[in-house]
Amino acid sequence: MEEEQVFSGYNPRVMRRLLGYAKPYRLLAVAAIISLGIGTAGALLLPIVIQRTVDDNLISRFTRIPAEHVTEFGAAEFDGAIVLSGATYIPDDKLVALSGVDRAKLTESGAIEEIGYYVFRYDNALTSTFDGSFGSVVTDTAMVDGRQYASIDAARFGELSEEQRRLIRSDDLTELRRKTLSFFVLLACVLAFTFAQIYFMALVGQGVMKDMRMELFNHTIRQRLGYLSRHPVGKLVTRVTNDVETVNQFFTEVFINLLRNLALMVGAVATIMLLNWRLGLVTLATLPPVLILTVFFRDRAREVYRRVRMSVSRVNAFLSEHLSGMSIVQLFVRERKVRDEFAEQNGELLRANLGEMYVFATFRPIIDLLSSISIAVVIYFGAGFLLSGVVSLGVLIAFINLTRRFYQPVMAISEQFTVLQSALAGSERVFEMLDEVDRIPDEGKWAPPAPVTGSVEFDHVWFGYKQGQPVIRDLSFRINPGETVAVVGYTGAGKTTIANLLTRMWDIQKGRILLDGVDIREYPLDTLRTVIQPIQQDVFLFNDTVGSNIALGRDLSKDELHRISSLVQAGFIERLPDSFETALTEGATNISTGERQLLSFARILAHDPRIIIMDEATASIDTETEQLIQMAVGTIMEGRTSLVIAHRLSTIKHADRILVLAQGELVEQGTHDTLIAEQGIYYNLYKLQYQESTFT
């Protein structure tokens, strides 16, 4: 297994190209990002709701300013201030506007009482529970706007009965229920929008992946056969499947999560600053260590991750190689050596894994510790600010919550950077493959005015699969419409290559090949290949039904299938368990070699080409099927121009003409009788094969 580049540095070109694929899905992407925004905002609002509830309803105490101090204090300017019997009551959380110095001064002068008070509306239902002692329990009472208000010392409040406490704080209880409801609505929103974001983004990622995979596959099968035989199928498949998969990962895991986590962090910081900028600054001051640590960690994580990936791929390569070559290992009695080598690779993998574990085992606890330190600092300074009235308890609680929320994405983000880079490397490999265009040029525009008659001519053709190693040398011959020509010769004489050239699976290097007098390069590739079709020696069958293997997508009725199969003597199909619907297993092991041959004849008849090139099978076939094949061959050649790469004497004898090929050159040609009379190579071949008719 070759070691593939695991990471790619951040490459804006790859990134831009990748995002280009998301264009058709931009509405979904926008929907995902909007959902993300709402979901994140909701998640950040939750602690705010708690803070408001704590400050406004749970604690909701007032500071009492005695009447003699009201003017020096300017108490009436405070929001929510209420005056009862001359004393002014100011909500605690509104005292925030007061500076610490003022506050200390005021406390000393007795302008601010240190005891907290509750201020409440009351009616007869409440006073009746006190048996007349109400007046002695409460501190001040007054009528404000036609309603009765009273205040009570927080310490005395605890001595009352539950019923009395409920009545006194009924406003707060109602408000608590209302806020709980809005908390629930917010939770439901977060649920809905988080899911919507995941779902929309998955649609984008999956869509992009589908499109890209389709494009890549389309690109690949249109490459020339030379390209395809140069690249192992397994590797091409990996590109089409696994590498494209990383693209999905990019969108659904990396891109959106990075966005969300960044939004959460930024949102948490912003909320902190909005709630209280002074405490916010203190909180921010605790963050630099985590940022530095994260950058450091990101590099370390990438390093160890790369090492793990490399070790994994080495172990995989070692396993794949030695499991495949196990019999060599065993034949050469190398078990001990191979075991030791494996132990080495396996040990390296262990070391890499442990290395990764140490990094994570160190950093996660440290990040958690930093988070605790931040919270401790926030509480300490928050308590200080609270003493000086700068923050409220609710704000402090919200800070604790928000600081936690800030730390949560930190670990995730640094890991996502790693995944981002591996996803980009995957996309880069895909793009590289897309950019390598190696196709048979399809620029022919020639439209034959009438149906092709089927004359073929090789005109001084030279060709080699590799430069400087010609397989076909200066080959010239002509086949007339409707003629059957057999090509004979020894292995390596270039017989099969003729079929490859005629259908332009490969292009010739010198000379011309003419179809009906026109160079085959003048024809559109589709036209050429519809006119000339090969029957290969080893018939490739797809993992599909017998019927679809014949039709290959053509719309053939059952009757037509029956007609075709009986024409090519493929009666065995009807005897299969599900006839034409029988599924062929992988490698089509459930039918014999001879039957495969008959199927390929049926395939040809279904497509009705003008010219066929038949590469006869060399494998021995049982006598019965052999006879069927002979009959079928007669049928499919009828009325067509046929070029047969022949191994069977009977086929050769029935040919109109025989071309004898040696080392890519035409050495003899003529009919069976004239060639016999010449007593040349063919004569010798014939004499030998007379007794062993299928042996080559």
Binding site: M1, K210, M326, A361
Partner: protein, 586 residues
């Protein structure tokens, strides 16, 4: 399910101190974590009652940081010990599995796909590691932390505790149920992926047919179907999987909501202190993980058991080919005797060999001729026991091959199989593969015999040239010649050569075979070849057809007989008459 874990017991026993140390660290961590909200509670209570001294808060916070340091150390500790142990167990189990692979016979590799065996060595190992590491942590932590937190919550305020923890069990149940459901969907996605891969693989393998019949569009559509199916399976998974964590968060949010509602009421009425409220908020947050963990533990343990089952299946399978108990470690001579050997591959309808009897006296050469499928290769495989022949049919040095120590028997052979398989090491290491301590001069010598040394200038790093996976950087002929050198390098007492020169041109082929024969003269050799001129040098020639011995004798005897041998001989003489070359085009 538990019985599958028996394989892990010896490992866990070996690492018991690591586990004990790790779990102790975990206990310290969890215990300290439970303290944290208590600091918060005391701080908040002090703050909310007013009239506190800042110094008190400072001391509390210093304590909090101190405990946090203990937690960090504990966290590092349990990761270090438990992950360390589970990583080591994974590694050792993998080594054990590979050791087993080394002992398994070829039929095992026919029955099991390489990809599947690899998955057992990697993916399955991962889930076993998760089961032996994370699952344990989650289980322990889950029980410990949950019990501790619940105890505190109930002591603090039983009524509120009872209310707020209501949604938590749902998280566990949700993970459990969803785990099973998601696993099903996930398998569907994997199936979709592998069917997509298969489609791509099939179409790219059959691309010639697709191009020949101009079916690009049709097959693209089929591929598009698979592609779309895979996409929709993914989306089906996303619909559930994507809902899971938002729902968990929602349920966690509901506990906060219940606390806000009922705990908040308590604070308003004075029965709950603000500090308790804040502490409970922290505790609830801490409870989410164990609740998730409980669900995951069950899933991880199940998955681990399924993987272990696949590992155990291999570990428990006895190798079919192994040394017998009182094996013979000494080979008296290399005379080979095959007596009425019949052999049928398991599951095959027809026998590969039928009643074959042959004698190869020590130091002589046996030539074998036969068509594809005539049983030649099977015969060669049975000699070094790559498959087990029936008892009493194959003897080397007068001893049944089944009675030898396997190493002794195979060490005597040098094989050149028909399909060349090279390893992705250097040229030199491939040739010296069978040697413990390769001698440079000897390597050069055997490289001369196979004529691979002639190609040396074409290799960028000479002897040190890496040949790539399965020798991909070499041509077919080069690979075959390396394989010949590899077999010769170990100076085997018996050479077995299975017609491995198909990719070499006829002239070189003859040269190699002649050099091979002279190198081997006087040592026992069995040589399969389709070239009569080579076979002519053998002391005896066996002609096989459909698993039977149809002709047996010297070259001269067989030439004199009417039959397959003579036909082939004539045919080859004819083709040799016409070898000429032409100038290349300019």
């Amino acid at each position: 399910m538990l019985k599958e874990y028996r394989t892990l017991f010896p490992f866990m026993r070996r690492y018991r101190w690591s586990y004990i140390a790790g779990l102790s660290c975990l206990a310290v961590t969890s215990g300290s974590q439970i303290l944290i909200p208590q600091f918060l509670r005391r701080a908040v209570d002090a703050i909310s009652w007013g009239g506190f001294e800042l110094r008190v808060i400072g001391v509390l916070m210093l304590q909090l940081v101190g405990v946090s340091i203990v937690i960090a150390l504990g966290r590092f500790g349990w990761r270090y010990f438990i992950h360390g142990a589970s990583r080591r167990i994974e590694s050792e189990l993998r080594a054990q599995l590979f050791e087993k692979f080394l002992a398994m016979q070829p039929s095992f590799y026919h029955r099991n796909q390489i990809g599947d065996l690899m998955a057992r060595s990697t993916n399955d190992m991962n889930s076993i590691r998760m089961a032996s590491g994370m699952a344990l942590v989650a289980l322990f932590d889950g029980v410990f932390l949950t019990a501790g937190i619940l105890a505190i919550l109930f002591v603090q305020n039983p009524r509120i505790a009872a209310i707020v923890i209501l949604p938590l069990p749902f998280i566990t149940v949700l993970i459990l149920l969803a785990g099973r459901f998601i696993r099903g969907l996930f398998l569907k996605v994997q199936e979709g992926f592998s069917s997509l891969s298969q489609r791509a693989h099939e179409m790219l393998s059959g691309v010639r047919v697709i191009k020949s019949f101009v079916k690009e569009r049709f097959f693209l559509e089929k591929f598009a179907d698979s592609n779309a199916e895979y996409q929709s399976r993914n989306m089906r998974l996303v619909r559930i999987w994507g809902l899971l964590f938002p729902v968990v968060n929602f349920l966690a949010g509901i506990t906060t909501l219940l606390l806000l509602r009922y705990g908040g009421e308590g604070v308003i009425l004075g029965s709950v202190s603000p500090g308790e409220f804040v502490a409970t908020l922290s505790y609830l947050e801490m409870l989410i993980w164990p609740m998730l963990g409980a669900g995951f533990t069950v899933n991880l343990l199940q998955r681990g058991a399924a993987s272990l089952e696949r590992i155990n299946a291999v570990l428990d399978e006895p190798p079919e080919i192994a040394s017998p108990p009182d094996s013979i470690r000494d080979m008296p001579s290399t005379a080979i005797s095959v007596r009425n050997l019949s052999f049928t591959y398991p599951g095959a309808a027809e026998s590969a060999l039928q009643g074959v009897s042959l004698e190869v006296p020590e130091g002589s050469i046996l030539g074998i001729l036969g068509r594809t499928g005539s049983g030649k290769s099977t015969l060669l495989r049975l000699l070094p026991r790559m498959d087990n022949p029936p008892r009493g049919t194959v003897f080397v040095g007068g001893v049944d091959v089944l009675d030898y120590d396997l190493g002794t028997l195979r060490e005597a052979f040098g094989s050149v199989p028909q399909d060349t398989y090279l390893f992705s090491t250097s040229l030199k290491d491939n040739i010296g593969f069978g040697l413990d301590d390769p001698d440079e001069a000897h390597i050069r010598h055997v490289a001369d015999v196979s004529t691979i040394s002639r190609d040396m200038q074409a290799f960028p790093d000479g002897w040190e040239t890496e040949v790539g996976e399965r020798g991909i950087t070499l041509s077919g002929g080069q690979k075959q010649r390396v394989a010949i050198s590899r077999a010769l390098a170990k100076k085997p007492r018996i050479l077995v050569f299975d017609d491995a020169l198909s990719a070499v041109d006829t002239e070189t082929e003859e040269l190699i075979l002649n050099q091979l024969l002279s190198e081997r003269s006087g040592t026992t050799s069995v040589i399969v070849s389709h070239r009569v001129s080579t076979l002519a040098a053998a002391d005896r020639i066996a002609v096989l057809d459909q698993g039977r011995l149809i002709q047996y004798g010297t070259h001269a005897e067989l030439l004199a007989q009417d039959g397959f041998y003579r036909e082939v001989s004539l045919l080859q003489q004819l083709s040799e008459q016409k070898t000429h070359t032409d100038p290349e085009p300019h």
